[in-house]
Symmetry: C2
Subunit: 431 residues, 2 copies
C-alpha cells in the first residue's frame, strides 16, 4: 500500500469533554506531533449535535452537524468519540469503507460487537485502535495486543471501574456504609445520579468483554459476562475482610481454562499484599498473568477528559505513523474461537460468613456440607458464643458450581441460622 | 516500501538463557505466531560461542560460531541477545546496513550509545525494538514510545533493579542488616557474587538513561546519570523510615525541569501509600507522570529468562507485522536536544537524622542552618534526651543543592554530634 505524503487529515466525531480535549491537544501540540509522526496533522472537522454552542479551543468553522458526511469524507483518520452503539457503528463502518483508519473510545460498541469492527478493519485494510475504551489513559490494550503477542495470556484481573473502586476505598477507610459513601461519591462527581451502570457492574462487564476478546482471540460480548454488582457489599463484609488481611474490590476476571474462556465481574476479596489491593480511590489497574512474562500490572487513571484524550492522542499518533510509513497496526481477530463457559466451571475460592447455633455438633454438620460437595476448607474462625455465634470459613480452590452448591446446602442446615456473607476470593498464591 | 511475502526470516545472535528461550518459543509457538503475524516465521541461525554445546530445543544445524556472517546475512529480523557494547554494536550496525530490522535486549549498549542506533535505524529505514532492555517483561517502552506519543511526560520514577529491591524488601520485613540480606540474596541467586553493578546503582543508571532518552527525546547516557548506590542503607534507616510511614527504595528518577532534564539513581524514602511502595521482592515497576494522562504505573518481572524472552517475542511479532504490512514502527530521535542538568538543580526533599546535644538552643541553631539555605522544614521529631538525643527532620521541597549545603552546615555545628542518615524523599503530594 502507498504511504501518505503531506498532512494527515483527521475527522472528529463528537465534541463532548473528550472530543474537545482531543481537538485542543491536536491544535495546541501540532509541532510536537509533527516531529513524532514525521508529517503534519490537519483537523478537517468536528461533528457535534449543536453547532451553535461555543467550544473553547475549537474554531467554529470546523464544527458540523452532519456526522455521516464527515465520517465518509475520506479523512486519513476518523476519531469516533460519540459513544453508544448506533449511529457510532454505522458511521465507523462507512468511514472504514471510505478507507479511513479508526480511533475510538467506544466501550459499549466494542463490547457488543467488536468482532464486526475487527473484520471490517481487516477487509478494508485500515487500522482500528481503541486504547481509550478500557481503563482510560492506562496503556493497556497496546501491551496486550503487541507486547504479549508472542506469549500466552492465562488470566486478566482488573479494577476497571473508578466509581466502584472509589466507593469501596472509602468504605474501607471510613468503615462507612455503602449508601453514605455513594452519596459522597455523587456529591464529588465520582458517581452518576443513577449509579446503576457502575455499581451493578455493567460498565466493568463491557470492559471485561473487550479485554477477554483481545486476550483470548475469541468473541466475547458483554452478555457473555457473568455479572454481580457491589451495591450489596456491607460495612461488615469489609470489616470481616480486613480482619483476615483482605480488601474487597469489584474485579473483572477473564481467564483461559482448559477448554474455553470464563469472564466474570463480581465483588472479590483480595489479599492486602496483592498489588491490586493498593489501587485506591478512582484509579484503575489491570493485572495480567502470562505463561512466559509472569505477572504484570498496569495502573493509572481510568477516566476523565484529559487522561482519555491522552489515550486517544497516543492512538492517533500510532495510526498516523503507520500511514506515513505505509504500514498497518496489529490486526485483531477471533481466530481462536474458544467457547465461553458458565461461571460454574470457574475455579475459585469462597469466603462464607455464617451465623450458627452454639451447640455441640454444629461444626461437624457444617464441615459435612463442604465435604459432600468435595470442597476443602482452608481457614475456619469461630467468633463469640451463645446466640451470637459466628463462623467464618475460607475454602481452598474448587469449582464455582461446587462452592455455590455448598452454600445452598448450608442454607438448609438447621444449625445455620443465616448466611451473612458469601464472596469469592482471588489473588492468593495457588493452590 | 514493499511488504514481505512468504516467511519472515529471523537470525539470532546469542544462545544464552534468553536466546535459547526465544529460540524454543519461536519454534514451539510457530502456528500461533503465524496467526498473529499473518506470515510464517523461520529461524535461519543462532550465533553462539560454542557450537559443540547441546542446547535443548534448538536443532544443532542452526548453530553457528560466525556471528558476523549471520548478522549481515540479510535476515528480515536480527535479534541481538549477546549483551555488552562490542561486538554487539558493530553487528547491529552491519545488520541494519543489510536492511535487517533489529530486536535487542542490550541495556549497556543502548545506555552508552542509543542515539547512534536510533540514527542508523532511521537512515536504513529499518525497525529498532528493545522492550527487553528495561524492566524485562514489563511492557513499558512500547507505552512510552507509542501510547504517550501525544502527551508530554514530566517524570519517570522507577524500581528497575530486582536485586536491590529484593534486598530492601527483606531488610524492611526482617529488620535485618544489608550484609546479612545480601548473603541471603546471593544464596538464592538474586544477587551476583560481585554485586557491585546492582547495589551501587550502575544497572539502574543504565536503565534510567534509556528511559530518559525515550521520555524526553534527548541524548542521555549512563555517564549523565547522578548515581548513588544502596549498600550504605542501614537497618536503622529503614526503621526510621517505617516509623514515619515510609519505605526505602532504590529509585531511578528522570525528570523534565524548566530548562532541561535531570536523571538520578539513589536510595529514596517513599510513602507507604504510594503505589511504588507495594512493589516487593524482585519485581520491578515504573511510575510515570504525564501532563494529560496523569499518573501511571507499570509493574512486573524485571528479569529472568522466560519474562525477558516474552518481551523479545512481543517485539519480534511487532516487527514481523510491520514487515508483512510494509510499515515501520516508531522512530526515536533525540530531536528535543535538552541539556542534562546536574543533580543540584533537582527539586526534592530530604530526610535528615541527627544525633544532637541535649541543651537549650539546639533546635534554634539547627533551624537556623536550614533557614540560611532557604530550606523549609516540614516535620521535626525529637527522640530521647540526655546523651542519646536524636532529631529527625523532613524538609519541604528545595533544590538538591540547597539541601546538601544545609547538611554541610549541620555537620559544622557544635550542637550536632553526628549526621546519622540523609536520604531524599519522593512520591509525596506536592508541594
Amino acid at each position: 500500500m502507498s504511504a501518505v505524503r503531506g498532512p494527515i487529515t483527521i475527522a472528529l466525531l463528537g465534541g463532548g469533554t473528550v472530543g474537545s480535549e482531543v481537538a485542543r491537544m491536536l491544535l495546541g501540540n501540532a509541532s510536537d506531533l509533527e516531529a513524532r509522526i514525521g508529517a503534519p496533522v490537519r483537523l478537517t472537522g468536528v461533528a457535534v449535535r449543536d453547532v451553535a454552542k461555543v467550544r473553547p479551543g475549537i474554531p467554529a468553522d470546523l464544527l458540523t452537524a452532519d456526522a455521516a458526511a464527515l465520517a465518509s469524507s475520506g479523512a486519513d483518520i476518523v476519531v469516533e468519540l460519540m459513544g453508544g452503539i448506533e449511529p457510532a457503528r454505522s458511521l465507523i463502518l462507512s468511514a472504514m469503507a471510505a478507507k479511513s483508519s479508526i480511533v475510538t473510545a467506544n466501550k459499549a460498541l466494542l463490547a457488543a460487537d467488536g468482532a464486526t469492527l475487527y473484520a471490517a478493519a481487516a477487509k478494508n485494510d485500515v487500522d482500528l485502535y481503541f486504547e481509550a475504551a478500557v481503563a482510560g489513559a492506562i496503556p493497556l490494550l497496546r501491551p496486550l495486543r503487541e507486547s504479549l503477542a508472542g506469549d500466552t495470556v492465562r488470566r486478566v484481573l482488573g479494577i476497571v471501574n473508578g466509581t466502584t473502586n472509589f466507593i469501596l476505598t472509602k468504605m474501607d477507610e471510613q468503615g462507612a456504609d455503602y449508601a453514605k459513601v455513594l452519596a459522597e461519591a455523587q456529591a464529588l462527581g465520582y458517581a452518576e445520579a443513577d449509579p446503576t451502570a457502575d455499581v451493578e457492574g455493567f460498565d466493568a462487564a463491557a470492559k471485561a468483554a473487550i479485554l477477554a476478546e483481545l486476550a483470548f482471540h475469541t468473541r466475547v460480548t458483554a452478555d457473555d459476562v457473568h455479572r454481580e454488582g457491589m451495591s450489596s457489599v456491607t460495612a461488615s463484609d469489609i470489616e470481616a475482610a480486613r480482619a483476615m488481611g483482605f480488601v474487597i474490590k469489584l474485579l473483572a476476571v477473564a481467564e483461559r481454562v482448559d477448554d474455553g474462556v470464563i469472564v466474570r465481574v463480581h465483588p472479590t476479596m483480595v489479599p492486602r499484599t496483592h498489588p491490586l489491593a493498593s489501587v485506591r480511590e478512582a484509579f484503575n489497574a489491570v493485572f495480567i498473568e502470562a505463561d512466559a512474562a509472569g505477572q504484570m500490572m498496569f495502573y493509572g487513571r481510568g477516566a476523565g477528559g484529559a487522561p482519555t484524550a491522552s489515550a486517544v492522542l497516543g492512538d492517533l499518533v500510532a495510526v498516523a505513523r503507520n500511514l506515513t510509513s505505509g504500514g498497518r497496526g496489529p490486526r485483531e481477530s477471533v481466530y481462536a474461537d474458544l467457547p465461553v463457559l458458565p461461571v460454574g466451571d470457574a475455579m475459585t475460592r469462597y469466603y462464607i460468613n455464617l451465623e450458627v447455633a452454639d451447640r455441640p455438633g454444629v461444626l461437624a454438620s457444617i464441615a459435612q456440607a463442604f465435604a459432600a460437595e468435595g470442597v476443602s476448607i482452608q481457614v475456619v474462625r469461630q467468633d463469640g458464643h451463645g446466640d451470637d455465634a459466628g463462623l467464618v470459613v475460607r475454602t481452598h480452590r474448587a469449582t464455582d458450581g461446587a462452592l455455590s452448591r455448598t452454600v445452598e446446602r448450608l442454607r438448609t442446615l438447621d444449625t445455620v441460622k443465616s448466611v451473612l456473607g458469601v464472596m469469592r476470593v482471588e489473588g492468593e498464591a495457588t493452590p
